[in-house]
Symmetry: C2
Subunit: 341 residues, 2 copies
Amino acid sequence: MLTDIERHALRRAVEIAADDGVPLGPNPRVGCVLLSPGGDVLAEGHHRGAGTAHAEADALARATASLTGATAVVTLEPCTHHGRTGPCADALLDAGISRAVIARRDPNPVAAGGIDRLRRAGIDVELDVPEELAAAAAHLNRGWEHGVRHQRPLVTAKLALTLDGRAAAADGTSRWITGEAARAEVHELRATCDVVLVGAGTARADHPTLTARPEDGARVPRQPLRAVMGTGQFPALPTPEGAGEAITLATHDPSAALADLFARGRRHVLLEGGPTLAAAFLRAGCVDELIVHLAPTLLGTGPPGLGDLGITTIADRLDLDLVEVTPLPPDLRLTLRPRAA
Amino acid sequence: MLTDIERHALRRAVEIAADDGVPLGPNPRVGCVLLSPGGDVLAEGHHRGAGTAHAEADALARATASLTGATAVVTLEPCTHHGRTGPCADALLDAGISRAVIARRDPNPVAAGGIDRLRRAGIDVELDVPEELAAAAAHLNRGWEHGVRHQRPLVTAKLALTLDGRAAAADGTSRWITGEAARAEVHELRATCDVVLVGAGTARADHPTLTARPEDGARVPRQPLRAVMGTGQFPALPTPEGAGEAITLATHDPSAALADLFARGRRHVLLEGGPTLAAAFLRAGCVDELIVHLAPTLLGTGPPGLGDLGITTIADRLDLDLVEVTPLPPDLRLTLRPRAA
């Protein structure tokens, strides 16, 4: 059980870990708060991306008072490996802490073991944190954790569909099928992923900028990498000021594209279209999450929102689990996951 | 304000009005409970369809004690017209009641005026009933009320769709796109309508029985009229024991079909398919309510769930208001209404 002060400190650790200025990518986002035995905050620290100090080291470096008997509140299990920085578990022990609150175990076999090491050294390790905070700590790094487990980025596919499954009217017009709330959410989604990927057809037809632009026009410090995938001719993406880097993936194979992005240190890909790209990733089993912005409108005809899945009979349909239904008036957001085989 | 006893009596009046054995059709379903000044139930009555006594007359006929000072609790405003039975407002006055609780005003100009007549005679008329009971009283007769106001039946269109708007796979197989809960609900829907209508294509392809069959195999006393609409060749509907009457409407015009059904005393039509019929009714502005059973599954190809609406550009899309979202695991039921122009 956590004390109120520790719960508050953990919430704060999640908050600083999630700092907008921290790049996503191959390293987990981690926050650390050091508390004195009396419950005062001695230091805060967070990881700022590959090549910088881990959150624990960052906090330890900022502490000016004695850490003997202190409590370390961290969002992720302290590491035990010698990378660019030394093992954080050892650094915490050396500093003299006597208790650690840890919101999430490290799924990375290379780095895990910190909890054991702390416990063997006689540290009181508390893992029983409130569910909401455990979920927030896990959500921080879901792309990174997916990468550790599956050696490829997490893939979220986003579709905007009419009730009857259309992505556009017969003449190709599609602005706007969804309302303002859904469209604003797309910009939020872009800011939470580290790649936005479209197919060559979408690049040709829409010339999308694929930037994360909040409604108030504010700059988003972290812009996703913008990738176009395909082997045909297509124009370069327009690059307004502040847009993320734009690259081309000269392949039609989802696995090859994801391997390339993974090698570039990317851990969460947002598939934004078009129907052919979404279908290719679904066919290849490369979609981990599907977000449908469903508009309560009908078109009857027009390009379908999803391409050919190679399914010819009902028994072979691609079933998904409906995880969440959220109103985005006038639309509905459905969050789904392909059913585990 | 209603007393607890009156509220209880009104709930009972709604319940007896909704008796499964009472046919839907050109007459409203009405329930009446007579309460003594001390709150005892003196009699209950309800209307049993065209040609039978109104609810108030039914209750009055059953009462054996004096009704002087009694309260009449009714689901619909008592009538003032001389039809097959005399005006109910007068009958209640003659019986000596001193208070009336009325859940719903009569939208029928021929029959309305009961509230005024009772009030002019010095009766204490209470219209301020709990919202839930007012809604239940209105819901009892929504087809009938629609008929009074628009001179055609209420039309509910039902579509079963995959997330990507398909009604079947490429080879035509469609059993089953939706799960058991959604399929069971279709039988409930049939039992609450007085016509189930399909197009000739569906009659040819599916040979549907269109009966209301509860999961437990029990008989539903009230089976909908089963109608096939179209001018081509199509087989007669199969007619299992207990099925409703089957008819043919030799037209492609939704308005003509609805006029025919209205003249037959029908007030609530369930459109069950196929895509062409649904599209024809939507194009004609003849759908009042759309129920979508949305299955969290993808097909990519296959016959679309909705036919051509004659819409070629996004600005002409057919917008609907999303009224309700209800889980029918694993599916979702969306209830929508075409947006008022």
